[in-house]
């Protein structure tokens, strides 16, 4: 792999950029791999990358029914944070966040990780107490957050109306090293690195069946034929239930549409990510100048990647109230992504009832921020055949035991 750098660009400019090589190869599938990963989104590619990097397993195929990074990796609002309340969540999201810090250098691909800071506004007394709790927990979890005053909020985000007639800002949970990254670049960077390690990324190849013998997985049937493997990792969103069906087990999960939108680009006006849970909206500004806005999930099962408009309305009115200057800006584009939501809204990572078949799914609305941590934990699980410490508590068995990882408790939901 030829390294990317300013010098490389200068060299290529001399020949009108005709000398650049492919970022990733486009191979035909081999008959058999040590590990087949289904899903070439961020999580699947990261799993492959850490299988190679941490465990030296490179006889790996990553199978993708569409184009790599084309699912939720390329449809989210790019927020990266780890200010979670529960220990296992804080651990895996902080692992992810710390890997984002060096991802551009690790992959030699600029993913534009921008630790610009994420604040979650507290707009009720109840929310204040909830975020103070999170700040205490984070301190003990090694996640650097703090509860900041309304004045500090205003300094960080001058365009915010902190004395709105409805919900004055009472403070915020602030994570300074949280931020955003360029979502597509994360998938592309991993793909380039995986390809460079000799792994096969096979796009436009759909899995049509899971092969097994004696309760152990032996391979997959695909639209490109049968591919055998020793181990199978299912790392997909929106289709996990479908794949699980093929493998003969069920997941405690439903698929719903999540809404997002962007404004037209304007000059820089907000330097941090703001999340306002009481009024259901969050917003940041991309490097292109667009305001990137996230909304809620629809209340019904849906695979259409389209959503309802009323969530957009709810989110936009909340943000217009919070940031009055955006009223005359315009929505450029709205879209929906299909997210898998589990019974406790936390992900599932671990073994499945089928031998040597592993699953990583159910990231709900938190998928992008977790990509490297998720890949790291999944690679360990696949390589060792048992979940390591990062993944252990995210197993499927927690639902029968009643041992949930519930993050909504800190969200300031009024009881």
């Amino acid at each position: 792999m030829r390294r990317y750098s300013a010098f490389a660009i200068a060299r290529e400019a001399a020949r009108y950029h005709t000398g650049w090589e492919r970022a990733w190869k486009s191979p035909k599938p081999k008959k058999k791999y040590d590990v087949v990963i289904v899903g070439a989104g961020g999580h699947g590619l990261a799993t492959a990358y850490y299988l190679g990097k941490n465990f030296g397993i490179t006889n790996v195929a990553i199978i993708e029914k569409g184009w790599l990074g084309g699912g939720n990796t390329g449809r989210n609002t790019t927020i990266i944070r780890s200010n979670y309340l529960q220990d296992p969540s804080a651990a895996i999201y902080e692992k992810a966040r710390s890997l984002y810090e060096t991802m551009s250098q690790d992959l030699n691909y600029n993913v534009m990780f921008s630790p610009r800071g994420v604040m979650m506004l507290a707009q009720t007394e109840h929310e204040v107490r909830g975020y103070e709790r999170t700040a205490h927990a984070n301190a003990l979890q090694g996640v650097k957050t703090e509860f900041i005053s309304p004045q500090r909020v205003k300094e960080l985000v001058p365009i915010m109306n902190i004395n709105g007639p409805r919900y004055p800002v009472l403070g915020a949970l602030w994570q300074e090293r949280a931020g955003t990254a360029r979502h597509d670049a994360v998938a592309w960077g991993y793909a380039r690195a995986c390809s460079d390690m000799g792994m096969d990324i096979i796009q436009k190849c759909e899995v049509t069946g899971v092969r097994q013998a004696n309760g152990v997985v032996t391979g997959v049937d695909t639209t490109h034929g049968q591919i055998d493997c020793d181990k199978l990792a299912m790392v997909v969103a929106g289709n996990a239930g479908h794949l699980a069906d093929m493998a003969g087990f069920r997941l405690p999960m439903e698929s719903v549409a999540l809404q997002a939108l962007v404004s037209e680009p304007i000059k820089p006006c907000i330097d941090v990510v703001v999340m306002a849970n009481t009024v259901h909206g969050y917003m940041s500004q991309s490097d292109k100048g667009e305001l990137v806005i996230g909304g809620g999930t629809d209340g019904f099962n849906n695979y259409t990647q389209r959503g309802s408009f009323h969530h957009v309305e709810e989110t936009v009115r909340a943000l217009v109230e919070t940031f009055p200057i955006i009223s005359r800006l315009k929505m450029l584009r709205q879209w929906g992504g299909i997210v898998d939501v589990t019974g406790d809204r936390s992900p599932i990572i671990g073994k499945t009832p089928l031998g040597n078949c592993f699953i990583n799914c159910g990231w709900g609305t938190g998928g992008f921020k977790s990509i490297p941590g998720s890949g790291w934990a999944m690679a360990e699980t696949v390589a060792k055949g048992e979940p390591g410490s990062l993944a252990a508590e995210f197993g499927l068995n927690r639902f029968s035991e009643g041992r949930f990882i519930d993050e909504s408790v800190a969200a300031g939901v009024a009881h």
């Binding site: 239930g241 479908h242 069920r250 997941l251 405690p252 999960m253 439903e254 698929s255 629809d298 209340g299 019904f300 099962n301 849906n302 695979y303 259409t304 309802s308 408009f309 009323h310 589990t342 019974g343 639902f399 029968s400």
Partner: protein
């Protein structure tokens, strides 16, 4: 932006007048049931790509729960019916089957 006919009011209700309630015809398991049955009851949901029987409440209308058969890929609504039943009406199942012969039917 769905519209569903409330079988009680007879009106085509806007999605914003409704509240979705997930899979219909769940069988409740209480004390004395196995861990597996209880887990299934609380968490395992049919999440089909296709025909889905689900619950809705006409929340800012009559306040009643009803059921709908809806396709999660096309959002087509095959029919709605009152919630006081353990399984979908036979004629509705037949109607869906006629439209989609490949559909496995209600299980």
């Amino acid at each position: 932006m769905l519209i569903l006919e409330c079988p009680y009011c007879g009106v085509m209700a806007d999605e914003t007048d409704l509240h979705g309630g997930g899979e219909a015809h769940l069988k409740r398991f209480g004390p004395g049931s196995s861990d597996d049955d209880f887990e299934t009851y609380l968490f395992h949901r049919k999440n089909p790509k296709g025909v889905h029987f689900e619950r809705w409440r006409h929340v800012s209308g009559c306040g009643k729960w009803f059921h709908a058969a809806r396709n999660t890929m096309t959002l087509e609504v095959y029919g709605t019916y009152p919630a006081q039943t353990y399984e979908p009406p036979k004629d509705l199942v037949a109607k869906i089957k006629k439209k989609h012969p490949e559909w496995g039917g209600y299980e």
